[in-house]
Symmetry: C3
């Protein structure tokens, strides 16, 4: 299913600009390279817009936000929107910080964002419009049906694909819903699993901007499957969380159509859509 | 001995805010997760105090200090002190930079700091109040007895536990002194061994704020023992310093009461205390 | 050939100040430690000059540049030049950003830079004086002879050694040219291969400031050979890019005279020099 996304990445080697979180910036660059993309990190307002203009996509990560990055995000998002390049927003910790939530709202209101990728706490905070959760980790927010309704509303409001990751990953463009069941429990014990997925989503979307929902689903499956493969290896070798992280990036670099098609656990969710979208 | 600290970490999953050094920020987040804590990194004055208010502890690391972080540290330390949350200060390179030393002095004088964790050069610079050493690595500073006397004075002056790490680790609350002999020579060849220990200390103290000296000793033993276990594995596999670092975090993630009690090398030092504290 | 550089590193444990890129800052510190150096990272103008004054060398990396770092680079470069300490400039992405190119030009014009280390795109942009390439990765720029002529001109203009890395690495002090053929294709799939080499070059030059060309050649051979050794191991174990990166730093930490002399692929290039330098 995702062979064409992978092929496009390897053929075009998309250049992706990331304005991102210093905690996980190295992991993000490495996973983008591992997938076949070409990352460039730059967050000074003095050069940000020019760099975005030369790139195929943009990733904005709100972790460790500051005013200088915020300004760079604003100008880069405007350039990307003007040129029709995909923009991925990762609202890290937005549920814990009004400052990040305001910045997210400003970026979303500019209508430049193509994809929002977060955990349940973050997506809920964006949907509600106010902060509430503790920390950066996901906290279960309401019933699954409520969550899905919120995701669809958020998606339609900002004309953006919404990707909510957790034990089950959910993706929607406001109509179609994908449910993905790949992943490994160790992913929560490594910082940057979410950030890396957003970076990888940037590479997939930049390579296949005409099929953003598929590109997002491809990124989520790749990441989750790489996690499963690394988790199995780590357990077999008696390793811990740092070995798991090495294996996670290793498996993204070793991913191909055969491995991906053999291991991905994706289904389209249609049963209760009408009811969910009814209002 | 430290079973209760470990158990409390796993039960409460303490949320710890770190305003820290970009060199080792990823390692710090990963070791906090490996131990069972939940890290949040944020260093913009715009959000720092609000984030501290929602957390169980605060880690301040002076590596790569700048004026924006300094302001964030000031406001976060004030919030933590007001709420009675443990604050760990890691005075990285304070012996080499008057700017860092002044910042350390300001933070200490606010009486918000619960634990100071540094190497011999750093602790000596704080005790003397002026910079002198070269670089960020430890340089032997005076006789052991002189060092211990300085540590106790520093501890009493600021009502803070002082943890000095090196070949032998020393901890004091101004009265009791622990000596810990865990560790591996490779720890000095990996950047962030000290920063990671301070981050881990933040997790232990946030989980058990009523027993800070024991929480600090637990962190020091865990880190040193993880180093020993990784060192043995690295040597057996013919690895180098990067493999050692992976193993170090792996072993923190695999640490449990049995491993810790079986391997920790801690003794209370009481013999010469009277003489040392006599003045 | 490089035994004396290695020996000097291990004897003097040179202290090297780096004002560098947050993407790869941890890898840079770790490779400097692995080689036997002692890194200190500091980029606040408030302390930068004082720290440089206490160090044996300075590495300036333009990745993720901002105005505060630019100011720190300016003052640190002035101090290093005044004290005759080697300064390594890594013009990361200078071909993609006028802001970085202007900063590079300013640093070069101050005549403080001893070594310029970049890929073909970056060296070409510096030689031409204007930006043109996409992203941070190398793009082939003109014929090999043209490239070599540009390198020599650049070297003479700024009295700096020029190190251009890629499939074949070229080094020149404006007269002598070394060609180095060590390396592994996986190096391009790991972020920071170039940054790490610049950091390692800083350690070698700081240890042997009287023989900068040899020190640079030693760093390039060490890095390339470590890449080859790690690449072979990674392939044998079925690993990916993250395992390769662990092995790369491991092998720098295990490097010794015997391994280096046995594996380095260096030749002096003299055949067409006259023609090349003729103008």
């Amino acid at each position: 299913m995702f062979g064409s996304v992978l092929q496009k990445i390897r053929e075009s080697r998309p250049l992706v600009h990331a304005i991102t979180n210093y905690v996980t910036i190295n992991d993000c660059a490495n996973i983008m390279l591992a997938a076949g993309g070409s990352p460039i990190m730059a967050d000074a307002p003095q050069e940000s817009a020019q760099i975005t203009a030369a790139c195929d996509g943009l990733v904005l990560n709100l972790g460790m936000l500051n005013d200088s990055k915020k300004e760079a995000m604003r100008t880069s998002a405007a350039v990307a929107a003007e040129c029709g390049k995909p923009v991925i927003l990762d609202p890290v910790g937005v549920g814990a910080s009004p400052y990040r939530l305001e910045t997210a709202a400003e970026l979303l209101n500019s209508m430049a964002v193509s994809v929002i990728r977060g955990n349940a706490s973050e997506i809920s905070a964006l949907a509600r419009g106010h902060a509430q959760s503790r920390g950066v980790d996901a906290v279960l927010q309401g019933e699954p049906q409520t969550q899905l309704r919120r995701m669809k509303e958020l998606s339609r409001k900002y004309s953006a694909i919404v990707v909510q990751t957790g034990e089950t990953d959910l993706l929607t463009d406001g109509e179609t819903v994908y449910e993905i069941h790949n992943g490994d429990p160790m992913m929560k014990l490594v910082t940057g699993s979410g950030c890396m997925l957003s970076a990888l989503t940037g590479v997939c979307c930049a390579a296949d901007p005409e099929h953003l929902l598929e590109a997002c689903a491809c990124a989520v499956c790749m990441m989750g499957l790489a996690g499963e493969l690394s988790g199995a290896e780590t357990a077999a070798r008696g390793g811990g969380t740092a070995s798991f992280r090495v294996g996670l990036i290793d498996w993204v670099s070793k991913m191909n159509e055969e491995i991906l098609n053999g291991g991905m656990k994706l289904e389209m969710r249609s049963d209760d859509d009408a009811a969910v979208c009814g209002n």
